[in-house]
């Protein structure tokens, strides 16, 4: 008889081990999937995990890991603060778009002025755009008790409409032959977020690292961090400890919106380069997986963001080298979260064999 027995305390060892086990299980199940598709499973797994890091062209792929991972980490750090306190911002994708639009709008308004203050103003605009978009669900929740999951998610679609409208109208490149999309920031020195393009370094990478440190200090050394953790772990105790839930909601949603907005701004003025209808590619949603894969811990999120970026880049390499269908790669990525959640059970429960003891 196999039973699940609740642990009196969540197991710390399991909590650290489950992400690794989940990755391992994903490799095994994914390998099986690839084998069923008639591909060499070892070669496929090796291509996904090894090729970008140590393969022949790793000089190109390693910087790309930074480009792909930075927005994921930046957004996931913000989301994790709320998730820890049971505040669910699912609409980071929308905040990402709005941050990019406000920031890019400022940059385009200054075009072609080369001045030191253009980019900092864009950064402030990006943060503000994301913050403002997150304040809508925050305000509605604190004022009317609406569900922030629904409101923030629905606002993603509103943001996408704004994006389409801006690419086709107000921000359209006047020299773009009538095609949608703004001017390219890569040809506007003073408004570009690149520090060194060949090294994959842009200000978003720097911001992601700062956010990790900031979140770590906040959660471990600061009263707000304590309130966040307390609210998530023991809401009743938090109430007695004098936590103001409304303020916490405003703080968590505001911060996550701000970071998502920043991620959007750094992306639009660097790797992506322009406001276009298809600017958003799902970072805001993938960041939710990254936040959980990293166990809502800042350092864990940093590692998880790197891992996720690796599967994207490695996945594309596997597609062209081994002709794996892209759907198989997506299933592979989905397995990662699935196994993580499944093995998570072991953190809070232990498997015991034999008959239940009579108390």
């Amino acid at each position: 008889m196999i039973r699940l027995e609740k642990r009196p305390q969540p197991s710390r060892a399991w909590s650290l081990a489950t992400p690794l086990i989940a990755v391992l299980a994903t490799m095994i199940a994914g390998g099986l999937l690839f084998a069923l598709l008639g591909k060499d499973p070892v070669e496929a797994i090796r291509t996904i995990f090894w090729e970008p890091l140590f393969g022949e062209f790793s000089f190109y792929y390693r910087p790309q890991l930074l480009v792909k991972g930075a927005p994921l980490v930046l957004i996931a750090i913000g989301l994790s603060l709320g998730f820890k306190a049971g505040i669910w911002n699912i609409g980071a994708e929308g905040q990402y778009i709005m941050g990019a639009l406000v920031g890019a709008g400022i940059g385009l308004a200054f075009y072609p002025l080369e001045a030191w203050y253009v980019f900092p103003l864009m950064v402030i605009g990006g943060a503000f755009g994301g913050w403002l978009w997150a304040m809508i669900p925050a305000y509605l929740k604190t004022r009317f008790g609406t569900n922030e999951i629904l409101v923030s998610l629905m606002l993603v679609y509103v943001a996408e409409q704004f994006l389409a409208s801006m690419s086709l109208g107000l921000m359209r490149n006047p020299e773009g032959h009538g095609f949608p999309g703004s001017r390219n920031f890569n040809s506007y020195e003073g408004a570009s977020s690149w520090i060194n393009e060949n090294a994959g370094m842009h200000w978003g990478v720097v911001a992601a690292l700062i956010a990790v440190i900031f979140a770590y200090v906040l959660l471990n050394r600061h009263m707000v961090g304590y309130h966040i953790r307390l609210t998530g772990e023991a809401p009743r105790a938090a109430k007695f400890a004098g936590v103001n839930p409304a303020r916490l909601i405003l703080f968590c949603l505001g911060t996550s919106g701000m970071l998502a907005g920043l991620a959007g701004l750094f992306e639009v003025s660097g790797p992506s380069g322009q406001v276009s209808i298809d600017f958003n590619v799902g970072y805001g949603f993938t960041a939710i997986i990254v936040a959980f894969l990293g166990r809502l811990h800042p350092v864990g999120i940093l590692l998880a963001g790197g891992l996720m970026a690796l599967t994207y880049i490695g996945g594309d390499i596997a597609q062209s080298n081994l002709q794996l269908p892209s759907a198989a790669i997506q299933v592979f990525q989905g397995m990662l979260l699935f196994f993580l959640l499944a093995f998570d059970l072991l953190t809070n429960f232990r498997i015991s064999l034999g008959k239940p003891e009579v108390a």
């Binding site: 086709l168 276009s276 062209s320």
Partner: protein, 357 residues
């Protein structure tokens, strides 16, 4: 002595290089915006790739990556193909334009072909098809077939290519049916079966009994089939599985001849940059079989239109045509120039509604 040595080694190196060229298959990469199984746009590009394989066999090696998002991901995937030794890379979506140009600048020895864009370089050629010719045939059938006089049109993005298609279909529907009216819904996607189905349903509810689409999935066909008494046209691909009703004909993108020719040019060392814009005449745009649900006289008119477009005796944009605001565009007998067509951002007179801004 020294000079001879140098010459010999140079000759040897040259010999080796040509030997390598002869032995190594030519590597051709394809970057796709949708899944190869979309049944439309990407499917047809992949058919083109398969035709290249069938034509050249061992002399060619093809690779492709599907579902590549436009933007930084595309740039990475294109770079990856170039790094891994591709000689020729086809990037098959408008949004790959800047990424293609960026990567091409870093790999001067790799040839790039960008579909539907307008930026070229020494090693970047552009190509597209005159889909609007197919729309003229489509409009002729649609105008004849509609009983409610309402034709629904699912637009993807309001870019010149799509606007051109709407105008061409409208002009030719109007020609055979002066009472015809177009209702246009913008889906803001190239491929999203759910959104496309919704758009089709909305149009059908508004009384449309003909649905034209500039999106790539078969979802509108399925929606029309469910509604009954609504006809559709296959887009990009034949979509014959929905015939004879609702699908009565189709516009087929046939990239195979172009892809084979360009691959051959790379093999022969004769590849050069340029802009190719071919239509029905050159075989890049095909008209799928017109089903028996279409009355014989209508079918005849459509085929006559097709023949006239193919041999060049008729241009799909021949005046007199006014712009939507009533201002004159083309005088009697005047034919639109390619420059205006390439950047078309206005409706012709008679179409209601505004192009989204």
């Amino acid at each position: 002595m020294k000079l001879t040595n140098l010459m010999t080694s140079a000759a040897m190196a040259f010999g080796l290089a040509t030997a390598a060229l002869a032995d190594d298959p030519t590597k051709v990469g394809f970057v796709y915006v949708g899944p190869v199984g979309d049944g439309g746009w990407t499917y047809e590009h992949d058919q083109g790739r398969k035709a290249v394989v069938a034509e050249f066999g061992d002399k060619v090696e093809t690779v492709y990556v599907e579902n590549v998002a436009e933007g930084p991901d595309a740039e990475r995937v294109i770079t990856q193909m170039a790094l891994q030794g591709a000689d020729l890379i086809f990037t098959t979506s408008f949004g790959y334009m800047d990424p293609t140009i960026n990567v091409a600048a870093k790999f001067p020895n790799v040839r790039f072909e960008h579909a539907t864009g307008y930026k070229q370089a020494d090693n970047v050629a552009t190509y597209s098809a005159r889909f609007y010719e197919g729309r003229a045939v489509q409009g002729t059938i649609a105008g004849n077939m509609t009983k409610s006089n309402i034709v629904g049109y699912i637009g993807s993005y309001p870019i010149p290519e799509v606007i051109r298609g709407i105008n061409s279909a409208y002009i030719h529907a109007k020609k055979v049916n002066p009472d015809v009216e177009f209702k246009i819904v913008w889906a803001f996607t190239w491929f999203d079966p759910a959104k496309e189905a919704d758009a089709a349903k909305v149009l059908i509810e508004q009384g449309a009994d003909v649905i034209l689409q500039h999106t790539d999935s078969t979802a509108p066909q399925a929606a029309a089939q469910a509604a009954g008494n609504v006809i559709t046209f296959g887009q990009a691909s034949d979509m014959a599985e929905y015939g004879p009703l609702p699908r009565v004909s189709s516009i087929i993108d046939d990239w195979a001849p172009y892809y084979i020719a360009r691959t051959q040019a790379v093999m022969d060392g004769t590849w050069a940059s340029g802009n190719t814009w071919d239509g029905i005449g050159a075989g890049m745009v095909g008209i799928g079989e017109i089903s028996d649900s279409v009355p014989a006289d209508v079918k005849e008119a459509a085929l006559a239109m097709k023949a006239a477009l193919a041999d060049g005796s008729y241009h799909a944009f021949t005046g007199p045509i006014n712009k939507q605001d009533g201002s004159a565009w083309l005088a009697e007998g005047e034919v639109a120039d390619d420059g205006t067509l390439a950047g078309m951002s206005f409706y012709v007179e008679g179409i209601e509604g505004d192009i989204p801004q």
